[in-house]
């Protein structure tokens, strides 16, 4: 009966469909694609961070056995392809022409019959450079005597400043600060959120395969947004879009790294167009960290104006953003600093004003989101650090200060001072649950006892609010294409379903959760629903997976497409049962006649009828497509509590406990949600304690591989504890909000707050992340607290 077949709908920990191939080593990642006659590309990169190119000599490289071609900037220039547009209205060199702007910049592309021959060819290309003065510090980029780093666009941008952007109510904010200076309290803090890299374990790459006879270009691409990339390829290369097929097969993680288009992709396509053969380009790890999209790099100054009792009134933020050599930030056109102005967080600020200046330096381009939604982590980090700073200055408990200032549950939908409309929330509920789970009062007592004994223990809280699920399309776009998303459902005559979606999984488990959405809407088993994605020739147009938008946008499209299927099935049921549609009732899996439950038709029977006995007034078949433009973003939230112990001998921070209470609205698959939170927490731990891309004064990258760029192993990662509250989104068809990035957004500040809390009693107010043992030891040493 219907209830029997309806298993594993919403809310059930249905095991993942995609695992079957991955646990057998049968995934199909880009580097697994091997085509007959395939050539391999490799890139000649600049050893200098800033230099003029005097000459590129390829003659020796062309003599290397196996080398087929060497493409230079001049070759691309002749085809009008030396420069390509970025996602932020800048242009980026595909291959450098007369100047390199960062170390590891792409200078030439060698094509050969094997990986090894291509590498030999790279070593044989002789480039003559004339080194120039290097700007590493973004503050120095604004000095009047700083060299102009981008003379190629001096007409429209005569300095190194890319933009000044501001939002909010300057006058109201200033007035609130004047009032607080006189009668309340003002806290100020500088903080730096360093440059980090998403570093998925699979690097970026592609296989480009152009068939001269058909004029069709197929590109297997590590792409989080295959349709948008197809359109960009069509526009940039001038190729007809219906003859471009982007296949984003299994991706070995993305985390924002695979949103932009990189020079290697363009070079591989050009190489395939010119050689007529498939060309593979796969970057190695040092190329990945050194040259593809970084995250963060925000120098922030923040101030809070509050009443003497700690009630917050106004927030003021100034940020200097280091965008590197080209402005390749992956942001919607309307918001150059992304959603950074979500920085009022979970608190009821009356006024706020935010300014961002972005500058060029001699570093790799980027400004993508490291597993977060367009600069939301930067925003959340700053407000959560500032709330702790305010609590510290007032001598208040940081939990109590938060509870005092939260937006209240009845205030939703809540319009923030910076003009976002928060859909739903219960911040107090999440924090109180986290406090109960860890026995917060008990921890504070323990901390006091330990302090008396000279031991260092800290408790850090982060009560973050995210903003995810872009669109709506009128506000959000990629290169002008609106951020809707899509789902197409085909119900086969025997009632089995093939669904295709416009988003692309990189490990999130779409093939499972999207099957569950359809299964729940149609009352069938997700075993009977297969979900495909990532192939632009077959999937409906979508904007891809990033910014936690898959469930909020494509998930909504999927639910609504399933409802269209159900609506048509109802018409067929009315015909078969010879009643009016209004006489039918739905229970999971079947329509039946009101008052006569024995008289009904299952969804499988109705699917069969759609092909065998369709009402004459309906089109045969049972399919539906939905393109969904969300009316608003969704606002997941949570409260995290981190407990740390600090080793006074080494300065090492030991995370003893980490309790994560998340609220992502309706949960589709609790097992997958928990997995997403575990992974997100680990990518929150990473920048808090370990990850940072650093440079020397000459712009040489110092942490360009996994020996030096420390991503957490099983030894550093604690045993995460999770819990949840459920506050559905009122505007999403199934009330879901998105969860893939919540923990990455929320976790770093919980850890930073815990470390500062451990040292607050000796006057420590802030430590910039990553909080290395050395930084902590230096503080302990300065305070006379080191121990053997």
């Amino acid at each position: 009966m219907a209830t029997e077949v309806f298993k594993h709908g919403l809310g059930e920990p249905y095991k993942r469909k995609e695992d079957a191939r991955f646990i057998r080593g049968q995934g199909n990642y880009v580097d697994d694609v091997m085509l007959p006659g395939m050539l391999y590309g490799d890139i000649v990169r600049s050893p200098y961070a800033h230099a003029l190119i005097k000459n590129v000599d390829i003659s020796e490289a062309m003599k290397v056995p196996g080398v087929v071609a060497v493409i230079t900037g001049k070759d691309l220039d002749a085809a009008g392809l030396a420069w390509m547009p970025t996602l932020s209205a800048d242009t980026e060199a595909v291959l450098a022409l007369d100047r390199v702007h960062f170390q590891m910049q792409e200078v030439a592309f060698v094509v050969a019959t094997s990986r090894y021959a291509a590498a030999d060819g790279v070593a044989a290309v002789d480039v003559d450079y004339e080194p120039l003065k290097v700007i590493v510090d973004p503050k120095k980029a604004l000095d009047p005597d700083a060299p102009l780093l981008r003379p190629d666009k001096k007409d429209k941008q005569p300095t190194n400043q890319i933009y000044h952007w501001e939002t909010g109510d300057r006058a109201g904010t200033d007035a609130a600060f004047a009032e607080a200076e006189a009668n309340g309290v003002v806290v100020k803090q500088d903080m730096f959120i360093p440059r980090i890299h998403p570093a998925p374990i699979e690097t970026c790459g592609c296989v480009a395969d152009y068939h001269k006879a058909t004029g069709k270009l197929t590109v297997w691409l590590t792409s989080q947004a295959p349709h948008a990339h197809r359109t960009l390829f069509a526009i940039v290369a001038g190729l007809p879009e219906h003859r471009i097929r982007i296949i984003s097969p299994d991706l070995g993680g993305g985390f924002g790294n695979k949103v932009p288009i990189y020079p290697g992709y363009v070079c591989a396509v050009v190489a395939s167009l010119t050689t007529g053969k498939p060309v593979k380009w796969i970057e190695d790890r040092s190329e990945n960290i050194s040259s593809t999209g970084f995250g963060r790099d925000y120098h922030i100054h923040a101030e809070i104006a509050a009443d003497k009792d700690g009630t917050v009134q106004a927030l003021k933020v100034y940020t200097l953003a280091d965008h590197g050599a080209f402005d390749a930030a992956a942001q919607p056109t309307k918001f150059p600093a992304g959603l950074f102005h979500i920085c009022t967080g979970s608190y009821d600020f009356k006024h706020a004003f935010v300014e961002v200046d972005a500058v060029h330096t001699n570093k790799a381009p980027g400004g993508i989101a490291y597993r977060c939604s367009f600069r939301v982590t930067e925003a959340s980090y700053l407000i959560e650090r500032m709330m702790d700073t305010l609590a510290h200055d007032l001598g208040k408990d940081p939990a109590q200060l938060r509870l005092q200032n939260f937006i209240q549950p009845e205030a939703f939908p809540y319009r923030s001072a910076l003009d976002w409309t928060f859909d739903s929330g219960n911040y107090e509920g999440a924090l109180k649950l986290a406090m109960k789970n860890v026995d917060y009062e008990g921890l504070r007592r323990e901390q006091a006892e330990k302090r008396a004994r000279g031991e260092l223990m800290g408790i850090g809280i982060s009560s973050f609010t995210e903003i995810v699920g872009a669109g709506p399309g009128k506000h959000f776009d990629i290169a002008g294409i609106q951020m809707f998303d899509s789902c197409e459902i085909r119900v086969h005559p025997t009632g089995k379903i093939l669904a295709r979606i416009g988003v692309q999984t990189q490990g999130q488990g779409h093939e499972t959760t999207f099957a569950q959405i359809i299964a729940a809407e149609l009352g069938m088993s997700p075993d009977d629903v297969d979900v495909e994605h990532g192939d632009t020739d077959t999937a409906p147009y979508g904007l891809g997976t990033y910014a936690s938008r898959s469930t909020p946008v494509a998930g909504a499209a999927t639910a609504l497409a399933a409802r269209k299927v159900r609506d048509k099935a109802k018409k067929i049921a009315a015909y078969l049962l010879e009643v009016g549609e209004e006489d039918l009732e739905w229970e999971p899996g079947r329509f039946f006649v009101k008052g006569a439950p024995g008289k009904g038709k299952t969804i499988q029977e109705l699917a069969f009828a759609a092909y065998t006995n369709c009402p004459p007034y309906l089109e045969p078949g049972l399919e539906a497509v939905n393109y969904y433009d969300p009316p608003n973003l969704t606002y997941p939230f949570g409260s995290y509590i981190c407990v740390v112990d600090i080793d006074r001998g080494t300065g090492q921070v030991h995370i003893r406990r980490f309790m994560a209470v998340d609220d992502c609205g309706t949960i589709i698959n609790p097992m997958i949600v928990e997995g997403q939170i575990h992974g997100g927490l680990t990518q929150g731990l990473a920048p808090a304690l370990y990850e940072e891309i650093t440079f020397d004064d000459n712009g040489n990258i110092l942490t360009g591989n996994f020996q030096d760029y420390l991503i957490p192993t099983s030894m550093e990662t604690p045993h995460w504890e999770t819990d949840k509250t459920v506050t559905p989104s009122p505007h999403h068809p199934i009330g879901a909000k998105g969860v893939g990035e919540s923990a990455t957004v929320g976790a770093p500040q919980a850890i930073a707050n815990a470390v500062v809390d451990a040292l607050a009693h000796v006057g420590v107010r802030h430590i910039d992340i990553p909080i290395s043992p050395w930084k902590v030891w230096a503080i302990l040493n300065e305070k006379g607290l080191t121990a053997d």
Partner: protein, 170 residues
């Protein structure tokens, strides 16, 4: 550069080939033999995505030349499933949601197999030490630890001898 004729037993099958002396073992396995379950994630032997068993020992196959594998017994992820029956580690990774993108999974499972061969009943700490040479960017390791515990329990309960290539263990 010289070329060498090698003969290597992989998952019970003998593979022969001529390889350049500089050919990395992982490239020969992936590109030469098309056994693409073994992955590449870094260039410094730090990530462990390429881990295989060489004479029963967990080995990062990007750190060995193909010619060094001549005459050896190798096992890759493709050798875990036997007679259409998943290995307890494969089962454990699925049951405990210990994989997301799947890219580190083959290497992680091979390292886990070597761990369970020398320590059939590891503690959580021993598991964490055992897999510390394998990076996972998706899962946060908690469920990987659970998956290995699942496999350890199952392998002990059934007193099943783990599938090995060569002498096994250390």
């Amino acid at each position: 550069m010289s070329t060498h004729h090698i003969s290597v037993t992989i998952n019970g099958t003998i593979y022969e080939g001529d390889v350049d002396s500089r050919m990395l073992l992982v490239h020969w396995i992936r590109d030469g033999l098309r056994l693409t379950g073994t992955h590449i994630g870094c260039d410094t032997s730090a990530c462990g995505a390429c881990t295989i068993l060489v004479d029963g020992k967990a080995t990062k196959s990007c750190t060995m030349f193909a010619v060094q594998a001549d005459g050896r017994q190798i096992m890759t992820v493709e050798g875990l499933e036997q007679n259409d029956k998943l290995h307890p580690l494969q089962e454990g990774f699925h049951e405990k949601h210990a994989l997301q993108c799947g890219y580190c999974t083959p290497g992680m499972m091979m390292t886990s197999l070597a761990l369970l061969q020398r320590n059939p009943n590891p503690s959580e700490h021993e598991i964490r030490v055992g897999i510390s040479g394998n990076l996972c960017r998706c899962t946060g390791y908690v469920n990987i630890v659970k998956a290995i515990q699942y496999a350890a329990d199952k392998m002990q309960a059934s007193e099943q001898v783990p599938v090995t290539a060569g002498e096994g263990g250390e």
